[in-house]
Amino acid sequence: MSESPEEAAETTGEWTDVARQAANEFDAGTDEEGSELLRELLVFGLDDGLYAIAVERVREIVRYRELTAVPRSPDWMLGVIALRGEVVEVVDLRSRLGLATGETDRSSRIIVLHGDAERVTGILVDSVSVVHRASEQNMMPAQGIELSAVVETCRWGDEFISVIDPDMALGFQNV
């Protein structure tokens, strides 16, 4: 049932192209007309903090629903949900970020992210607020070293948003 390595490589290759192209556009900082490019970030909350993930990586946002626990899996793997016939793994972002365990309530959401290949992974967050268009001027490298998944900080009025690298947060490389 598992797909062949070539197949996986092929899809990843395609996907990487898209990502690279997007990245190049961001690097350029401006589009063809010379106006400033904005980055689109999906802003969500965990405890009192504001976090964000690049919109390009988000496939959909669903309400929290009961998870099916998976035995023999690491602690940060909360379980799986069935989503229109698809089975999606849900990762505990809190534990990946080193935050204390939280509760789920009516505002809890699962953000379903595109991973590599055809893989999708959900992350559990306390709430989802808005899509914020951030200008490059407001972006700065992350300060703290302990939260390694936080790669950048974005100034938003008086507040700061921690921008998360989904690959690092989901531990795609080190499972």
Partner: protein, 724 residues
């Protein structure tokens, strides 16, 4: 502004993969068409090899057909710009052309290359099918192979021109023969057949019909080598044709057989007479002139033949049987397996929805106020259920393919190995019509090839050794397939040296797979060969031991929900039995509960279920066992396995008896929650790697439920026993 910009950005990023997709799409188109051609080639090639092997005369039509297939493939590849495939097909075409023209003899080693070439083509197509482009490696492989062809084809052609000189045919007629026709003439002469010239005059308005009737009649008594128009002395509005034919029937008696008006049969070569000195002429029609005369006096024959040499022949070649077969092809539809997968998924979703309806119906029936609606809904559900089952089996049926195609692949592999190992083997297939899900068939190829290789390379002895052991000098591998309930059983059987149980036990002990004094049955020991790291072959050859061991065979099969068993008698042979579910798409599962969690167990590995009392559980070496009809059954608690808090152990216990091949395990669960049709979804992610879980499925209540990997659970439990 921002919106506009972002939309443009979206377009930009989307373009790249879309283009890539277009290309793969093209390749799919190519592959689906080319596959059909390739399959036909394979079939024909295997017939050709058989005819050669049986050293009977090879049917010229067969060679022509393969030649045409290679030609179509070349054209198709050219259309899609697939140069490597086109080149390869072109060179195969060369070999085949050489064969049909007699430039290459049927004994040539070049013929063996046809098989390899077709395999190479198949490999390239598989790559395309997976959405990959052909790369330099493919081009290199094609080039290397073409070089091989060039080498093999360079063989001197025996000069055989003189044979034709002894024929009583006019030189202009002979000049009009194409190279192929000349070859066929020689071939028939060498087979000792009579050569006749059938001459006939037709009305110009109806000659096509008359000619094709006559051709068909001649074909019944032999082979039409050439059809030539002889415009010589035909009266106005009439046309004369000469058919050069070969036959085994005495030319003197041909007149009676070819009872056509205005037809004259002249023998140009009488085989039994030894030479052409006795040309026997049988006139069926007095008014017709002898053809030789007609041919000689009509000087323009050659010219006319040059003008349209093959045309008159071609319409008669495409005669009714071909037309019929064309029709039958158009009645089948080639469908991309992915479309069927989608359809199957839809049916799966419907099955899930049906389950949801059932649970609503039951809830309604349980309430006094809604009991009537509940009953009605239940009735509707029953009808839906029945129709759904029909739909399901209809879709499943479409996915079914006969095992024949695998068998053909296997016989090619064996032919190649026979050459490489210089070891003859008799290969026998049974049950080629047995059908299995296309996906399973695809995944079955590698394990089967491995097993057959193993048999040929290791199990079958050399001819001398076999004689010494009192066996037939040529070893035999038999592959038989048959259906048993919802499973298909495939047996790979050889009459080779068999396996030495003691040697395997010793190796198992040495590798730490079993304890030194462990009491194991013969079957248990034999099945150790499926463990990683237990290879019984002394040396690794290029044929076997390419990094794929029996353990991989087992894990490949268990991925498909299949099981494998082995039985062997030292000196007499080995039988490997593979049992596979007919389809993977929808499986019946037993839903069990431990604490709060539910799991699905594929029903095809459940032998029975039972409820037992705690006092029935015995203990042996610190393990729980149950006396099951006199046999000890090792027990394992799913709650321990998955570290989940289960219910009390002092109450009644529920046991699922699991069977994987010969191995048995009793799995203790808290409760049974019934059976359900489920569609197993693989999980793409880290969970995939978790041992004991093979995937997940969705139940009617929209929750995900994990599917237990029975083979892993059973293997682990038994290994733990062995380690203890």
């Amino acid at each position: 502004m921002a919106a506009k910009r972002s939309s443009r950005k979206g377009k930009k990023t989307a373009r790249q993969p879309a283009k890539a997709k277009k290309k793969t799409q093209d390749h799919h188109e190519f592959v689906s068409e080319a596959e059909e051609i390739l399959e036909r080639m394979l079939e024909d090639l295997s017939d050709l090899q058989e005819q050669r092997h049986a050293s009977t005369e090879v049917d010229p039509d067969l060679v022509n057909r393969i030649f045409r297939s290679a030609h179509s493939l070349k054209g198709l590849a050219g259309m899609f710009g697939l140069d490597a495939i086109g080149e390869l097909a072109h060179h195969l075409e060369d070999i085949l052309d050489g064969l049909r023209l007699g430039r290459i003899s049927m004994a040539s080693p070049a013929i063996a290359l046809l098989d390899d070439g077709v395999s190479l083509l198949a490999t390239m197509m598989t790559r395309l099918e997976r959405g990959n482009a052909l790369d330099d490696d493919d081009a290199e492989a094609a080039r290397a192979f073409i070089a091989q062809i060039a080498e093999a084809v360079q063989e001197p052609v025996a000069p055989t021109d003189d044979v034709l000189d002894g024929l009583e045919i006019d030189s202009s007629l002979r000049r009009a023969l194409t190279e192929y026709e000349e070859h066929r003439l020689r071939e028939n002469l060498s087979r000792g057949r009579h050569i006749v010239l059938v001459d006939s005059i037709f009305d110009i308005t109806a000659f096509e019909e008359g000619l094709s009737d006559l051709s068909a009649a001649v074909r019944e008594i032999g082979e039409v080598i050439s059809t030539l128009p002889s415009p010589g002395d035909a009266p106005e509005s009439q046309i004369r044709f000469s058919l050069l034919a070969a036959t085994e029937i005495d030319p003197d008696r041909l007149g009676e057989r070819l009872d056509h008006p205005n037809t004259n049969v002249e023998c140009v070569h009488h085989a039994t007479g030894g030479a052409s000195e006795v040309p026997a002429t049988a006139d069926t029609n007095a008014e017709a002139e002898p053809t030789a005369a007609a041919a000689s006096q009509s000087e323009p024959t050659a010219e006319a033949a040059e003008g349209n040499p093959a045309e008159p022949a071609s319409p008669s070649q495409v005669e009714s049987p071909d037309i019929e077969s064309l029709r039958s092809i158009s009645e089948t539809v080639r469908v991309d397996i992915r479309k069927l997968d989608e359809l199957m998924n839809l049916v799966g979703e419907l099955v899930i929805q049906r389950n949801a309806i059932a649970s609503v119906a039951n809830r309604l029936s349980g309430d006094a106020q809604t009991v009537r609606i509940g009953a009605e809904l239940n009735k509707a559900h029953k009808t839906l259920d029945r129709k759904l089952k029909e739909l399901q089996s209809g879709v499943l049926d479409v996915r079914m393919v006969p095992l024949r195609q695998i068998f053909e692949k296997l016989s090619r592999v064996v032919r190649r190995l026979r050459r490489e190992l210089d070891k003859d083997v008799e290969l026998e297939f049974k049950g080629a019509d047995t059908e299995l899900d296309k996906l399973i068939v695809e995944q079955l190829v590698d394990p089967l090839v491995h097993l057959v290789r193993n048999s040929l390379d290791h199990a079958l002895e050399s001819a001398e050794d076999r004689r010494a052991a009192g066996k037939a000098p040529i070893g035999k591998i038999r592959i038989s397939a048959f259906q048993r309930g919802n499973h298909v059983v495939i047996e790979v059987e050889d009459d080779g040296r068999g396996m030495d149980v003691e040697a395997i036990r010793a190796k198992g002990v040495a590798r730490g797979l079993i304890g030194e004094n462990e009491n194991l049955s013969r079957g248990d020991i034999l099945n150790l060969v499926f463990e990683a790291g237990l290879s019984t072959c002394k040396e690794v050859s290029s044929t076997s031991g390419r990094g794929v061991g029996m353990d991989v065979v087992r894990s490949n099969l268990s991925e498909m929900g299949g099981i494998v068993d082995l039985d062997s008698a030292s000196g007499r042979g080995t039988t490997v039995t593979i049992t596979l579910p007919i389809t993977l798409a929808i499986i019946q599962a037993l839903i069990v509960r431990i604490g709060e969690e539910r799991f699905a167990i594929p029903l095809n590995s459940v032998l029975e279920t039972m409820a037992i009392l705690p006092e029935q559980i015995g203990h042996s070496e610190g393990r729980e066992i149950l006396n099951l009809r006199g046999e000890p059954l090792l027990l394992r608690r799913l709650s321990d396995e998955f570290d989940i808090e289960g219910s009390s152990r002092d109450e009644r216990q529920f046991v699922v008896v699991l069977g994987m091949g010969e191995q048995r395990l009793g799995l203790i669960v808290d409760r049974f929650e019934g059976q359900q049709d489920t569609v197993i979804k693989p999980i793409k992610g880290p969970i995939q790697a978790i041992r004991g879980i093979s995937g997940a499925t969705e139940l009617g209540d929209r929750t995900a439920i994990l599917v237990i990997d029975v083979s892993a659970i059973v293997a682990d439990a038994l290994r733990r026993r062995e380690a203890a």
